[in-house]
Symmetry: C2
Subunit: 163 residues, 2 copies
């Protein structure tokens, strides 16, 4: 008997590094594109998955080109603030924004998520992260990012399963 809430059929993360300053991630979600877009852009829904179970206080989330966002994760090791600004918001298609962790101010990342409708009604989210330097990129890769991302995506799976 398993107590894990992870479904046996969890969709895999495909992570590649196509250039020296990028991380490319693909992940399929078992929900419509409209549903997944909402989970990425509605503050109340983001708070349910992005923090992987940690409390997430969303201080600002102006989902439009030029708008700012800022959220603070309250984890067992303390508070972590993250913030940035939206570069492109094309509903249900493209969400592009800068991303900066308070612990490394000015080490800005540009994340661009593209939402692809699959023929079976599911959605593939293709996310590219562009870093200022290879050192910043490699620092992120060695920070436990992949595990944290897997946990976030699992929390998103659970949210989407609620319909």
């Amino acid at each position: 008997m398993s107590t894990s809430s992870t479904p046996a059929t969890e969709n895999p993360i495909v992570l590649t590094t196509p250039t020296e300053r990028e991380i490319h991630v693909e992940r399929v979600f078992n929900a419509s594109r409209h549903r997944v877009w909402t989970a990425y852009t509605d503050p109340g829904q983001i708070a349910q998955w992005w923090g992987r179970g940690n409390e997430l206080v969303i201080e600002r989330m102006e989902v439009r080109r030029g708008g700012h966002w800022r959220c603070v994760e309250h984890g067992p090791d303390g508070e972590h603030g993250f913030e940035g600004r939206y570069r492109e918001v094309t509903p249900e298609e493209v969400l592009s924004y800068t991303f900066e962790w308070d612990g490394m101010p000015g080490h800005v990342i540009v994340e661009t998520a593209r939402f692809e409708e699959l023929p079976d009604g599911r959605t593939r989210v293709v996310t590219t992260a562009l870093f200022l330097t290879t050192e910043d990129r490699d620092g992120m890769l060695h920070s436990g990012m992949e595990q944290g991302m897997a946990e976030s995506y699992r929390a998103l799976d659970r949210l989407l399963a609620q319909g």
Copy 2:
């Protein structure tokens, strides 16, 4: 007879592009390092030179690592907002911060100014701008940046000449 306020001995700007994503600028100022540092970090003084004669409203200027800055230039063609965050503040030595124009949100630049004392008591400011992409860098080079910078530096010369 000249009505220009530019001194005959204006110090030249030396601009180079050492890599595909950088602009490197050197400029000497006829003042001590302490004096030049203050002109770069005191909001009241920045307002006197950075806007090249245009009104500059400084909404935020927290000169410390992780602090934010934001200012709005009121020019003949309207308002232009600029903002960013300090990456490094080492008094009188290094000032590094991100720079973003509201018109191109998320196209972040990292500017790093180093202040060098010269043996004759003057100060060389060496500024490197690192862009996310070559396209962003070239866009800046073709935007009239060099002329704007020359005007700002001339205004700074005048401020420094006031002692």
